[in-house]
Symmetry: C2
């Protein structure tokens, strides 16, 4: 057995760091999984998308304390990330009812939701206050969760997604965090308009990993989609993705006047809130509509808007977190029906591959999403 | 004819200033009205509410330039304020269809809406981009509008409200700006909840002129209403107004934990946005609900909120402007049906009376709203 092969079920293996300075060079690490609970499922991982959240956690930008894994009550003191996981069910806790052995499934940014609170029951399990992140989340028993740049992941069935046969694994991977994160606010932000038989106008700000999927998804939902970026450098790509129009906010034009009162929804997929021309952007919203941010900035950044700006249209601003499990399933169906495909570059998993993906993502050198592949070959899995 | 008597229709008389330093001492002034347009109505004023917006305009706090009246193309270079007007129709433009001579009517913060744009047609005339404020607004012909601390006011019928007989003039006055300003976001913010047969929970922040009406209106709309204030000094009043509960944000209690995930709507009626514990308040919102501000601060103030704060519940923040004409009529019907009455102190109009009202409002010495009365006696009107 080579050193990369995993000795499941005693161990999981994954690429992990113990210090933020190592963010671009996670090392292959062996660790014990969390204790199996009756609702847990083990997924033998086939591939995993690479999400900008990973950079924020590995670089420790969303925290003011040390890496959370260092205080894990048992299991590794290292952090393995990755939360756009596709794989095969290889173990079922004794109370699992939704999945069967061998089934292809996925896992997004949450590995647990309680399924009992009012938020879970109302289809808002992404806001469950007991939810545990797929990595760097703390379970009630003190174990700090480990992500999907790994041989296996253990998660509660409440958070696991069934995946339709029509979708390819490396393309469905990025839909599970990035895609879902834009799908939920897009759907919730325009469903009232669609229900009146009106074609909604959606502005997608920031054409990167999130934004490129937002264009495709908004289009599939039936919206007129305008891509909004600082320069025209991504205009051609945005049109190919399906955008009906393009606004370059850094140009000298009076774009906010030309597009005044246009949008039913502005979805901000850019990672910085402070660098946006918010006061100008909000002028393009129709009455009582929303500007929703899904691109998460540094934890010290703040929105700064004058109350007077909102008065022009009674608009509001805020953020949206992920999407519900039901919405993930809707999104997969939408992708299968409309056959839209995220623009994905695959990179075979290895220390070099993980390092390349993280470094290039950090440098913005990605068009528009990475999926790490070849897990079965690397970890010697996939033989059952 | 005494010096206070008005020689209508050649002149209107009102209390006006020409410099912000005179804000607390408007002087009786004679002026020519704007040119009568075919849709205009002249209202002989019976009484007028006193709104905090008046202080902002008289003190010139919402502008970075000089008083707008100084550049009026014709008419007075002085500013008369007041936009919670009740009176009698005494003149009709030749195309007016909605009102008749002698009818009791009201006028709020807008004296004109175009009635032709998409916003007007969709019931959002308060956001009409061609709307003209009842005072300090600029008409297309360059006349700067003059408000209701006056003998008469001229306004487009699109902005004039019919008033039901059941409501007393001095009590309906404050409903037209202050009341409408809270009614619109309250109704729009909870109607989806009410339509599901659920009793919405509404938090009203700031128990002053706006907040005290918000408590009564939210209650009449069918909500559970929690009054939110810095100290407990207004607790007794809030309960008398109909509040079901009270939160003192300045207390040591963990009120945001006790009320986590409680509110369907937070309505901010406090005049300062920056002094609010926004990050704590937003924790009390349910998923995807709104924090709406109607208390307008100084023009230099900004909301400052971390994008992460919103993530706890996918909430949004923003402001709301006035309400539509249709909503004003709904509000009057609601007040007649539920017999709620703003807490109004009446002050007879005169230079001393206007000065007292403005000074005491500026000092916060009002429980909870002033209406200036006795206009007919003062101006020698009401004889037709």
């Amino acid at each position: 057995m080579s050193t990369t092969t995993v000795n499941y079920p005693e161990e999981f293996k994954g690429f992990a760091i113990s210090d933020p300075s190592e963010w671009s060079n996670p090392k292959l690490t062996s660790y014990v999984p969390k204790t199996l609970s009756p609702k847990d499922v083990d997924i033998e991982i086939e591939c995993c998308g690479v999400c900008a959240s990973e950079l924020a956690v590995l670089k420790n930008k969303w925290s003011t304390g040390p890496l959370r894994c260092l205080s894990s009550s048992y299991g590794p003191k290292t952090q393995c990330v990755g939360h756009e996981i596709v794989g095969k069910v290889v173990k079922l806790g004794e109370e699992v009812t939704e999945f069967k052995l061998g089934q292809r499934v996925g896992l997004g940014a949450h590995a647990y939701a309680c399924n009992e609170c009012s938020r879970c029951k109302e289809g808002n399990d992404q806001y469950c206050t007991k939810a545990v992140g797929t990595y760097s989340g703390v379970y009630p028993d003190g174990y700090v969760s480990q992500g999907g740049y790994a041989s296996h992941v253990r998660a509660n069935e409440s958070a696991v997604f069934p995946i339709p046969d029509a979708l390819e694994s490396h393309l469905v991977a990025p839909l599970q965090c990035g895609g879902l994160t834009v799908y939920s606010p897009l759907k919730r932000g325009i469903e009232d308009v669609l229900s009146k038989g009106i074609k909604p106008a959606v502005g997608v700000i920031g054409i990167g990993g999130l934004g490129h999927m937002a264009i495709m998804i908004a289009k599939a939902l039936g919206a007129e989609v305008i891509a909004i970026s600082r320069s025209t450098s991504k205009k051609e790509d945005a049109i190919k993705m399906g955008a009906d129009g393009f606004i370059a906010t850094g140009s000298a034009e009076q774009w906010e006047e030309e597009n005044a009162d246009k949008f039913h929804l502005l979805l901000n997929c850019a990672s910085s809130a402070t660098e946006l021309p918010l006061d100008r952007l909000l002028k393009t919203l129709k009455v009582n509509r929303k500007f929703i941010s899904v691109g998460l900035p540094d934890i010290r950044e703040k929105f700064e808007v004058s109350p007077f700006t909102f008065l022009q249209s009674g608009s509001t601003i805020g953020s949206s977190l992920l999407g519900s499990k039901a919405e993930a399933i809707e999104l997969f169906e939408l992708a299968a029906k409309h056959q839209f495909k995220p623009w994905v570059e695959t990179i075979p998993i290895s220390e070099a591959g993980v390092s390349e993906a993280l470094t290039r993502l950090s440098d913005g050198d990605v068009r528009y999403r990475f999926t790490l592949t070849g897990f079965n070959e690397f970890f010697g899995t996939g033989k059952q």
